[in-house]
Symmetry: D2
Subunit: 331 residues, 4 copies
C-alpha cells in the first residue's frame, strides 16, 4: 500500500457553474398521512397542495412553491431529485452534455410548479430532473411573513426546518458517479473518503455553489444500485438541532444517531427515520461556506475515520446498512 496522499480531484475554476441548486425532491412512503404528519407537525413544514396519491410540502425559507412531494408507494424510497439550472442557456448546455452520455430520458411538462423538466439518471440509476422555469412561493394569510425578504412566516412549530440542504445517495459505483458529477454536471468535489489505496473514492461530497456540499454518494455495502441514504434539511444553528432532538423524543420519532458533529464537512447532525422508513438528517449547513474557487478536495482515509465522528462518537451499525430505494416515477 502506498503512503501517497490521495490525488486532488482537480476542477477548472473557469468552467461555468451550470447548476444553481438542489430541489425540490420526491419521497416515497407506504404511510402517506403519517409521513405528512411527521413533516408538518414535528418538522415544521407546511402542506401546500395534495392530489390523489401525493402531498406537497414547503419549508419556510424556500423561494419555490414546494420543497418535497410525498408520494404513496408500497415501499419507502426516493423519487426524482430536481436540479435548477443556473440560467436557461445553462440548462440547454447541460442537456446537450447529458444527452451525449446516453443517460437522458427526455423532457416532461407535467411537474407541479416547474416548467419543462429534462429527465435523466446518474450512472447508478437515481432519477433526476433539470429545470429553469419555476413558480415562486406565494404566502397566503396564514403564513405571510413579517419581513418581505422571506418566503413564508417562521412557523414556530417543532423543528422549524428552514430548507432542503442535500441528498445523500447510496451507489454501487462511487468512481463512476463521481466522474459523472464532475465531468457531466460540472459540480466540484469538496471532500471524499478514499479506500486503502488512498486513491479510489468510497464516498464523495459534491458542491454546485458556495454551500460546502449538495449531493453526496456513499458506497452501498450491499452492492445494490440506486438507493437513498438520507435526505437532509437545514436549520440555522446547532442549538436548533438539539431542540429538534427533544421534539423528536416527545413525538416518538426514531432517533438513529446524534446529535453529534461529523469530522467530514463538520456538519452538526441528527438522523431520524420518518414513519415511512426513510432516513432524514437535520443539519446546520450554511455557517461553513466554500469561498475558494480553487478549493482543494479534502481526502479522508479509513484510519482517520476509525477515530469516530468529530468528538469521538462511533458510527452505529444501521448507518452502514439501512437505505431506501430510489425508484423511477413510472414504476
Amino acid at each position: 500500500m502506498s503512503d501517497a496522499p490521495a490525488p486532488q480531484l482537480t476542477h477548472d475554476p473557469e468552467r461555468r457553474r451550470e447548476i444553481a441548486h438542489l430541489g425540490p425532491i420526491e419521497l416515497y412512503t407506504p404511510v402517506l398521512e403519517q409521513s405528512r404528519d411527521f413533516f408538518v407537525r414535528v418538522m415544521g413544514l407546511r402542506e401546500v397542495h395534495r392530489d390523489e396519491q401525493s402531498i406537497y410540502l414547503h419549508t419556510w425559507d424556500d423561494y419555490q412553491s414546494w420543497t418535497i412531494r410525498l408520494v404513496q408507494r408500497e415501499h419507502a424510497g426516493m423519487g426524482r431529485t430536481y436540479l435548477r439550472a443556473a440560467s436557461p442557456q445553462a440548462r440547454e448546455r447541460l442537456i446537450e452534455t447529458i444527452e451525449a452520455t446516453g443517460l437522458g430520458l427526455g423532457r416532461v411538462t407535467d411537474v407541479r410548479g416547474l416548467g419543462e423538466v429534462y429527465l435523466f439518471t446518474d450512472p447508478d440509476g437515481h432519477e433526476m430532473g433539470l429545470y429553469w422555469d419555476v413558480e415562486w412561493y406565494q404566502a397566503d394569510d396564514e403564513d405571510r411573513p413579517a419581513l418581505k425578504n422571506q418566503a413564508a412566516a417562521y412557523p414556530g412549530r417543532g423543528a422549524n426546518l428552514r430548507r432542503l440542504d442535500h441528498v445523500n445517495f447510496l451507489t454501487a459505483d462511487v468512481p463512476g458517479t463521481s466522474a459523472f458529477l464532475r465531468d457531466v454536471l460540472g459540480a466540484r468535489c469538496t471532500e471524499q473518503i478514499v479506500k486503502d489505496d488512498h486513491v479510489t473514492p468510497a464516498a464523495i461530497w459534491y458542491s454546485v455553489g458556495n454551500k460546502s456540499y449538495d449531493l453526496v454518494y456513499t458506497e452501498d455495502w450491499t452492492g445494490t444500485r440506486g438507493r437513498l441514504h438520507h435526505v437532509a434539511f437545514a436549520t440555522d444553528t446547532r442549538e436548533e438541532i438539539l431542540r429538534a432532538a427533544d421534539v423528536c423524543l416527545e413525538a416518538g420519532v426514531h432517533i438513529e444517531t446524534g446529535p453529534h458533529k461529523h469530522a467530514i464537512q463538520q456538519t452538526f447532525f441528527l438522523y431520524v427515520w420518518e414513519p415511512g422508513g426513510n432516513r432524514i438528517e437535520i443539519c446546520n449547513a450554511g455557517a461553513r461556506l466554500i469561498l475558494a474557487p480553487d478549493w482543494k478536495t479534502i481526502s479522508w482515509t479509513k484510519e482517520e475515520r476509525a477515530k469516530g465522528q468529530a468528538w469521538g462518537l462511533k458510527t452505529i451499525d444501521t448507518f452502514h446498512t439501512h437505505g431506501t430505494p430510489v425508484l423511477p416515477a413510472n414504476l
Copy 2:
C-alpha cells in the same frame, strides 16, 4: 448628598426560608380569547381548564396543575399572586406574622387546584394568597412527556415558555413594601436601585430561594398604588428568547423592547404586550443562581443606570409609564 455607599439590606441566614416559590397567578384581560390565543399559540402554554369567566393555562415545566388563570375583566391588570409555603408549619407561622400586620384578609377554599389559601395584601395593596396543599399536574395522552422527570411534554410551539419566573409590581411605596418582604415574608433582597441619597430604595429584587429573584417592586412614577409592571416567564437560553422575538414578530405581537441584557440581575429579556395590555417578560432565569446564604445586596445608583442596560441600550419611555392595575378578585 452623601458619597456613602448604600447600606446593606442585611438578613439573618439563620432565619428560615418559609416560602417555597411564586405561583400560580391571575391575569385580567378585556379580550379573554385573544389573550388565551397569545399564551397558547404564541407562547406555547396549554389550556387545561375553562369556566364561564376564565381560562387556566399551564407551562410545561410546572409541577402544579395550572400556572396562570386568565380572567375576563373590563380592564387589563393582575389578580392574585399565589405563594407556596415551604411546609404546612411554615404556612401557619407566616399567617401568624401577617395577621399581626393587619394586612390579612382571611382564608378561602375555593381556588382551583389549591387547598386552603390565606389571603392578604402587601402594604401597596397587591393581593396575595398563601397555600400549602396543591394538586400536581397530570399529563394526558396529548402532552405526556417522554421523560418522567418532566411535568408535561415539551410543546415545540412558539416561544415554548418553561415556567413562571417572577412578578414585577409597581408601588407607590418602595421602602414600605421592602420592609414587608424582608420582615414579614422573610425574603432576601439580592439587588436594589437606590435614590440620590444612596440609601432610599427605588426598586427592589427579592428572592425566596436560589433563584436570584422572585418578586420585584419598582417605584410607580405616577404615584398610583397597586399596579403591575410585568409578569415574567422563563426559557432556558438566550437563543430561545431571540427565537421568541421572531415568533412575536410573525404573530404581530407588540414588542416593547429587547431582546437585550439588564445590568441588574443580568437577566436577558424581551418585553411584549399581550393582547389585553399587560406587559409580559420572557427571560432566561436559572443560569445565575444565588448560592451564598449571606449574599450582600447589590445597590445600583442613578449614575450607574444612566449608562443604559448591560450593552448600552437606553431604556424606552413606555417602560417607565405603562402599567396595569392589580385588582382584588371581588371587585
Copy 3:
C-alpha cells in the same frame, strides 16, 4: 421480583436545609502543571494562588476565593469536598448530628480562604469539610468584572466554566450513603436508579437547595470504597457545551462521551479526562430547578436505562469502570 414501584424517598419539608451549597473541592493529579494548564487554558478558570504542592483555581461566577485546589500526588483522585453550612448555627447543629454517627474527624483551621472546618467522612470514606466563615473573591485589575453583581470578569477563554456544579462519587454502599445524606445531612433525593427489586438504590442524586442535584453516589462495580466518578462544572447553555467539545478537540483533550443529554436529571453533558486522569463533566445546570418543597423522588429502573441516554446514545464501557480514588489529605 416484585412489580411494585420503588418506594418514595420521603423527606420532611419542615426539616431545615442546613447546607447552603457544595464547594470548594480538592483534586489530586500526578501532573500538576498539565492539569493546571487544562483548567486554566482550556476550561477558562483562573489561577489565584499556588504553594509548594498545590495550585488554587477560581471559576468566574464563584463568590468564594477559590473553586478547586489541584494537589500534586502520585495518583489522580479527589481530596476533600467542602460544604458550606446555611448559617453558623446550622453548622453547629450538623456537627452535633455527625458526631453522633462516629464519622467525625475533628476541626481544623488551616484551610486557605475558609474559617474553621469540621472534617468528617461519609460511610464510604470520602472526606468532607463543613464550614461557615469564608473569604469572598476579590477581583483584581486583570479580572475585574464590568457588572458589579458578578464575582470576576467573564474570561472569554476556552470553555468558560461558570462554577462548580456537583460531585459524583463511586461507592461500595449506595443504601448506606443514601441514608447518611438523608438522615444526617438532611439533603433531598430528587432522582435515583433502582435495582431489579425496584427498591434498592444503585445510584442516588441528592440536592441541598433548588438545584436539582449537588451530590451523586453511583455503585462502584469494582466494589472499591471511596472513589470518584467525576466532578462537574456548569456552563449556562447547551451551545456552550458544544463549543467546549470543539475547544477540547483542538486542545487534544480526551473526550470520553458526549455531548448528549441524560434522561436522568435531563443534564446535557460532556465528559472529558483531565491530564491527571480524573473525569470532568461539563454540564448545563440551572435551567431545570426543583421548586417543589415536596418533590417526589423519581426512580429509574434497569429497563428504562437500557434505552440509552435521552436521545438513545448507548453508555460506553469506560463510564462504568473508570474512577479515581478519593484519598484523605494526610495520606
Copy 4:
C-alpha cells in the same frame, strides 16, 4: 410622488460570476498596537506577520494567508479592499471591463501573500485590488486544527471571529456605484433602500455568490466621498454574538448598538468601535443564502424603515453620522 414599486434591479443569470469573494482588506488606525490588541485578544484573530508600519491578522476559517492588515496612520479609515477573481481568465476579463471605465490604476506585485494585483477605484473613490494567485494559510504548531478541513484551530478566545463577511462603504453617489457594481463588476443587488420616489436607491446590498451580500454602499449624509461605514466579520450563530457583546463589555470596547436583528437582510448584528475608531460589525452570516439565480431585488421604503429594526429597535444617531475615510495606500 408615485406609488409605483421600485423597479427590479434585473440581472442576467447567464452572465458569469467573475468575482469569487471579498477579502483580504486593509484598515488604518492611529493606535496600531491597541487595534491589534482588540482584534487578537478580544475578537480572536491571530497575528501572522508584522512589518515596520503594519500588522497582518488571520481569522481561523480563512483559507488565505491573512484576513486584515492593520496599518499605522494618522487617522482611522480603510485602505484597499481586495477581491479574488473566480478564475485567472475571469480576472483578465474584469480588468478589460474596468479599464474601459477609466477607473483603473494599474498592476502591482508587492502585496503580501497575493500574486499580481490590478488596482482600481469605484466611482466614489474607494480603492480596490483584483487578484487570482494567493498564498494559502499554513497553520503552525500553535494553531494546527484538529480537523483537516479547517484552515486553523478554533481559537477559543474572545469573540472567535470566523471570517471576513462584508464591507459597508459610505458613498456620495449611490446610483453611480450601483451601476458600477452591476455593469462593471457583475455583482447582483439582493436588497436596497429606495428614496421617496420609490426608484432612486439610497443604500444597496450586492452579492457575488450565494452569500446574501458582500459589498454594501450607503448614502453618506455628509456628502463626503470615499468613506467607510463598517467592516463586518462572521460568527456562526446569534448566541456567539451575544457572547461577543459580553466579551466587549468586559474588555471596555465601545458598543455602539445591538445585538439586534436588521429587517434588511435579516442580519443579526453587533456594532462596536475598534480602538482606532473604525466601526466593526459582528454578524451571523451564512444561515440565509440566496440560492435563486434570478433572485428579485427586495426594495425597502422610508416608511418601512421607520418601523425600526426587525424587532423594533430605533436606529441610533451615530449610525448615520460616524464614518471613517477610505484612503489610497500611497497617501
